[in-house]
Symmetry: C2
Subunit: 244 residues, 2 copies
């Protein structure tokens, strides 16, 4: 289950932070590290700061986009100190987030995403996320070093994992009732967007309206089956629309 929990670092500036993050991960039983466009990697600083966790650094996947890093995940939590204006479900408390993440990780891959040291995550990257989490801190000095933030959230995840219910009874959830992957959700959003435009509801690409409706559907947490139904509905509607 811990192996289902991926740590994604987006465009990390200091290679040392990659190494220190790997060390933080390994102390807390995590091993799946993915780097999105790291500024400098591989780099001796990453290996040096990793101490005994170089295996995580050596095995880290490097990808071009956050979507690539999280397509197979059913839950993607963005760690962001700065609130964005998107209505993304937000965990104020890391331990509450960790319990939720660990419960999803029982069956499917999930991810915790950390942004750039200075700039955090962009709005587009936040849109790759299903949730946001912030680490409550001193209002006068609230930004943790990147690797420290990884350590704190990894610690909360490990705590939640250690304290998870141990009973044998786990109701069998049919695949169709499980959450969709980010990729499946993405396909639905594209389909919805096309229908909104072809119907004339959106005259021109109107990012805010689209984003709000996307967030609404995401908050509804459709199962895979429900997503199928929605796509079936969109398909039926499309037949009556002009264009394409």
């Amino acid at each position: 289950m811990l192996s289902n929990i991926r740590i994604v670092l987006v465009q990390t500036f200091h290679p040392g932070n990659i190494g220190a993050s790997a060390r933080a991960m390994k102390t807390m039983g995590l091993s799946d590290l993915v780097l999105v466009n790291p500024r400098r990697f591989p780099d001796p600083e990453a290996s040096r700061l990793a101490a005994g966790a170089e295996d995580l650094v050596d095995n880290a996947r490097v990808v071009e986009s956050l979507a690539n890093a999280t397509n197979d995940c059913v839950q993607v939590v963005g760690a962001s100190a700065r609130l964005r204006s998107l209505p993304l479900p937000h965990f104020d408390e890391p331990d509450v987030m960790a319990r939720d993440l660990v419960s999803h990780a029982t069956s499917d891959p999930v991810a915790l995403v950390f942004g750039r040291e200075r700039f955090g995550l962009t709005n587009d990257e936040i849109r790759c996320c299903s949730h946001q989490v912030s680490i409550p801190a001193n209002p006068d000095y609230s930004i943790l070093n990147l690797a420290q933030a990884v350590q704190v959230l990894a610690h909360e995840v490990f705590t939640a994992w250690r304290r998870r219910p141990h009973n044998d009874y786990r109701p069998a959830i049919p695949a169709e009732d499980r959450p969709p992957t980010r990729e499946q959700l993405g396909h639905f959003q594209v389909h919805l967007s096309q229908v909104m435009q072809r119907s004339g509801f959106i005259n021109q690409p109107h990012a805010r309206t689209e984003a709000q409706l996307e967030a609404l559907f995401a908050r509804a947490r459709p199962s895979r089956k429900e997503l199928s139904l929605l796509r079936g509905l969109l398909g039926s509607l499309e037949q009556h629309l002009p264009g394409e």
Copy 2:
């Protein structure tokens, strides 16, 4: 109350760890940093890693011994990855420790003590502590970087502080019922030791027996008044003993 919580770093080897620890402290509302015999301090690395927390580094007290750093504290929690053979009360869970520490910090100074990067705390330093805490970690790779350990425990302390009961009712505890300082406890232990030797119970300085009885009395958590009573008893016994 947070200002009653002191972070003590013992013989830190890397100045960078001092700076990174200061940053970790400040994000979590802590400001009282004391350094026991740091290997190299002041040092540019400490200021550099402190980022915006140089004020904590600049205001850090430097002392010669752990006792000096904690004499005025009613609770001293040693963060130790390696269990020692002393029967010191031990917190297995950082959040449980943090709630206890925060409750004591309402009225009196308390301290969280971190040892050397490689060697942790010596047995003598553990004896300066009232409790131990360990951070549960991957059994195959369980040693957190020093500043990371400070960050994790500071985060748990800040969480406990945020979640503390907010009701106005706080039963007034008379001074005599409050816990003694480490210094007062130390005086009692010296007195007890003298009586043990003068009575012939201990023929020669027998560190293990003394340590075990010291730990027993510490575990009993005598209030200041009870400590007074014990010292009064020792005084009465002494009158009948040979020597001195």
